[in-house]
Amino acid sequence: MFGYMGKVLRVDLTARRTWDEPLAEDLLRQHIGGSGLGAWYLYRETRRDTDPLGPDNLLIFLTGPLVGTKVPTSGRHAVIAKSPLGQWGESDSGGTWGQMLKRAGYDGILVSGAADAPVYLWVTEGQAEIRPAQHCWGVDTYDVDPLLKAETSSKAVVLAIGPAGERLARVAAVMNDGHDGRAAGRAGLGAVMGSKRLKAIVVLGTRVAPVARHDALMQAVKQTAPVINERTKSRRDYGTAGGMLPAAAIGDAPIRNWTLGTWDRFDRISGQRMAETILKRKYFCAACTIGCGRDVEVTSGPYAPVRGAGPEYETLVSLGSMCLVDDLEAVALGNELCNRYGLDTISTGGAIAFALEAFERGLLTTADTGGLALTWGDPKVMLTLVRQIGLREGIGKLLGEGVREAARQIGGGAEDFSLHVRGLELAQHDPRSMNSLAVAYATYPRGACHRGCSHYLERHGVADIGYEKALSRQDPTGKGAMVARTQDYSGLFNSLKVCQFIMPGTLGRDLVTYLNHTTGWDVTLAELLTIGERASNLKRMYNVRLGQSRQDDVLPRRILHEQLPDGGAGKYTPPFETMLDEYYAARGWDADGIPTPETLRRLGLEWTIPDLPGKNARAAAPVR
């Protein structure tokens, strides 16, 4: 087998036992790796009634076939589990952990059960050991990194949760690479890890997966890497926040909990401002040629010291414009605190902005906040709430449940300004600016996720998946079908475990070339896109088995019914239901958003048909 180490590590924390399990190549050709392969495992090994924070949940870490090669940006890993938000949960991260896991001898790690006391996992050169971690419990993710390296190797790479995950916050992330602050942030998977009392996974190795056609792969990389580098220059210079100013100009970047159309302070938290002030150097994940990561330093002033990973676009918006905080150094500190506590910055910022509005409306008072007046634009309020969410103290205990649960408990109409889909706070891109995001947010299996990349395609097009050029950002024509195709396409990046940021310099056929030269397969672009479609449908079926359908494919009221007063997204709301109908039709799903038996058979997912709700399952029975 080429491109893979050929096995995963199984860990049963209840029994404190580990063992190796081989990977079958025919399974890999169906699902590749990353979140695609993770969907296959999670579907089969969890049940409809699995408690996300119970020992029966399966916590999965997976790389992909390109991880460990020189394919640009191929150093990522996926984290998958049933989300504590109640459905399919996936997130992914860069840094160096995924590459080092593969060097340690494994394509992935599957963790079941729960330990009776904190533990960490030490994996090196094909061996695994469960070690006690009581002394690490409560230590933040930056400080636990050297602690565990001292016990293993200075060259090891550490993946860990912080206090937020330990205390089961549903906005908790799984972090890796210590001060470099890489995060599998979304869907609350840090809480799943905390529920298993698994503090960390430390990996180190020197092994290399064989590549089928070494010289041909090197030639392909040589041809594509310069194009990728050229077309990602702004990301290298200014990070993802290089897109801050245009996002603000077209109304894509939300302000004040999604209520304002313009804000004259964006330049104070832009990537350009960071480059001029606190940026120390650029950070490259393993095998990366882009370098969008920021390494920052604040040495004086009220928010010093800050040293390490700097805030990227999503964080600058969530802790910045969403809360009307225009102090870059305060946001940098907020970012560091989120990293240390192990918090998803998107959901944390969303929860803080929600709390600010609830306080403004009188639904929260100083009696609820320990005397703290929650006022817009006050960096100290933002930072205090980050701390309270991270440590699950005070009002932070409630906000750490996420805005859906917080709104339910607060009541008084708070649901109207709690912006989430399936319990996951919206990413910092407004569907009123680029309307494909309306369908993308509503249908992505983990909740309101921008990684379906429809907004990218609206701006640039991807020629060999059928979109030659940019689309009008507020014209709904064809957007439903486009979202379906881009979810399948972007999902491939999550299966191969390459970064979506190479999209500007690659086409689908480049992914095919990378994959075939690495594995020795002869996959066509059409087949690869079908693999992406298979992953999308399997994740959908995971949620269908839980009872989800069209009634769950919804958007917050604010996005659908409240127009922004001005700006690039002003005076507009997306025609959501029409686009959603088109999306279902393009997917081969019925009007209720359920995959048809025919669609599932076409994708080789007939084994999920018994999980279809009533009528479809019965219709399928004779065929089975």
């Binding site: 060259k155 290399v208 077309r231 220059k233 702004s234 650029k282 040629t289 640039h460 940019a470 500007p504």
Partner: protein, 134 residues
């Protein structure tokens, strides 16, 4: 004679040497015409245009030109009195030269040595030296 004001974010500000610029023209000025005119007057900007030239998709990875909250396409006409923002792209970015590639790039594992310049494969050489063996 129609005229418009142009506001340049970095790095365009550095390429044209000023934050704002007021230009006038006769007849019609499309965005494509603007880039041709700026390229002829500002060598640094010319040096940083995409190698494909003034092609829509390539330019979209280099720059976002925005008027009244909307991104202009290359053949859009700039109106008299417009305030035009020349911004970095929403994603990506294009540059032809390698002059910045000696930046303080970082080897995430700290295990390699190198000059920090890109190798022929386009990798920072530290990463290339450290990077995975195929």
């Amino acid at each position: 004679m129609p005229q418009a004001t142009f506001w340049f974010a970095s790095p365009f500000k550095e390429w044209v040497g000023q934050r704002t610029l007021t230009l006038s023209w006769e007849g019609t000025l499309t965005l494509r015409n603007l880039w041709e005119r700026l390229a002829s007057e500002y060598p640094k900007l010319r040096a940083n245009l995409p190698r494909e030239g003034l092609q829509e998709e390539a330019m979209s990875h280099m720059v976002a030109v925005i008027v009244d909250g909307d991104i202009l396409t290359l053949d859009a006409a700039i109106k008299d009195g417009a305030k035009v923002d020349i911004l970095t792209p929403l994603s990506g970015g294009t540059r032809r030269d390698d002059s910045d590639r000696d930046s303080r790039q970082r080897d995430p594992t700290g295990t390699a040595t190198g000059t920090g310049r890109f190798s022929a494969l386009g990798f920072p050489s530290r990463l290339s030296a450290r990077g995975s063996r195929l």
